[in-house]
Amino acid sequence: MLHIHRIFVIASFLGALVLSTASQPAVSQITPSAETKPTDTKLALKAALVLTPEFCADKATQGSFWTNGKTKLFIGKGACLQFEPILSSVFSSLTRIADASAAGDAQVVLVPRLVNASIKTGFGYSYAEVVVLLEWTVKDRSGKTVWFETVEGHAKDTTPEKDANGKFIRGEAWVVIPNHAVKDAINDLARQSASKMAASPELQKLAAEAATAQTPR
């Protein structure tokens, strides 16, 4: 019995060794989907960011219980934590609201919608690659859509060899790696959204019109 146990341990060790060598370089990294330039000047618009409870709870589901397991990607939860601070760099003022009817005197209302999300993991969770697609609808005061865009967030994370305390975390990689990748993809999504909003000719035109209307004659 002891002999069998020893063989099992050796086989397990070999398996673990093989898994570790099959992994990607032991560095956590973010691969943004595109170059993001920081916003130099803010759009002179009062914006209201609509983060409804439904959106914050929204998730994407992938896979099947009967095959490789069902994976849930909690995109809304992460987005509701990361969007406001990053998007506030785009507008002269940004207020977070839970319902579009509470927009008040906002000049533009920003409404996100999760389109889809997908995760791809390497064997033994050696890496996780996440793609998130989000749709933005931006309406003016009259309720007219002035900007409509799909933004992609992307991240690829590989197994960190050790945590900050020097402890090996490979054993819990199936949790750590996908969570890192989802968080990073949402961060990329927020930065890409900010970049696209700032570069939008439609929003720039609206800001210019609003500034002209406010200028005393």
Partner: protein, 204 residues
């Protein structure tokens, strides 16, 4: 006996480790972008031009999607939408795209409609929204890499600023066996500011 079994397990681990990098390195080439005028079918409405290029060849389907999609019941359809206006912007909402059977009952819809009116025209053709078909298509395929690639290549909703274009794939259902009938696409696009709806109508 047990020793042999465990040795076998170890061998499987080694084999899988060799397979993994191959899987991880799976790359799907991008479909070469092309102008609307270079596509098999083109349509125009006002300042907007659409080009449509169905990917019928199984080899091309395998190359760009790593799947022979026709036997699975759909074909990828490359579309490119170009805004030729130097002033106006248009909103392209992929969820508003309608798909129908082409053929003898075909009649041209009005190319423009007023704001607030539905873009679907009654021409004897039964239209259904194309949005959502992607989820049905990719649900049968458990290969995450294939699924992610199909999602990434899908055309996405966008504001078409002056002189801006958008391109990507739609996934149209077809019979798994035998020749397919004509497919008709209606693509409504809304002019920002006025809310006027232009309908691009193509058959392939």
């Amino acid at each position: 006996m047990i020793k042999n079994l465990l040795s076998g397990i170890a061998v499987i681990f080694v084999a899988l480790s060799l397979l993994e990098p191959t899987y991880a390195a799976t790359k799907f080439p991008d479909y070469p972008t092309r102008k609307a005028s270079d596509c098999a079918v083109t349509g125009r409405s006002g300042e907007l031009v659409v080009g449509v290029q169905p990917i019928e060849d199984l080899k091309d389907q395998k190359t760009y999607f790593n799947i022979e999609s026709t036997p699975k019941g759909f074909i990828p359809v490359y579309i490119v939408l170009e805004n030729g206006s130097s002033v106006d912007s248009f909103i392209f909402d992929k969820t508003a795209i309608k798909l129908g059977q082409g053929g003898s009952s075909y009649s041209s819809p009005k190319s423009t409609m007023n704001a607030g009116k539905t873009a679907v025209v009654d021409s004897g053709t039964v239209f259904m929204p194309l949005a959502g078909s992607i989820f049905a298509i990719i649900s049968f395929n458990n290969a995450d890499a294939v699924r992610q690639n199909i999602m990434a290549k899908e055309v996405q909703s966008k504001t078409l600023s002056p002189a801006v274009s958008v391109q990507g794939f739609l996934y149209a259902p077809v019979p798994k066996k035998g020749p397919r009938g004509k497919i008709r696409l209606q693509i409504p696009v809304t002019r920002t500011g006025t809310g006027e709806v232009l309908v691009l109508d193509v058959e392939f």
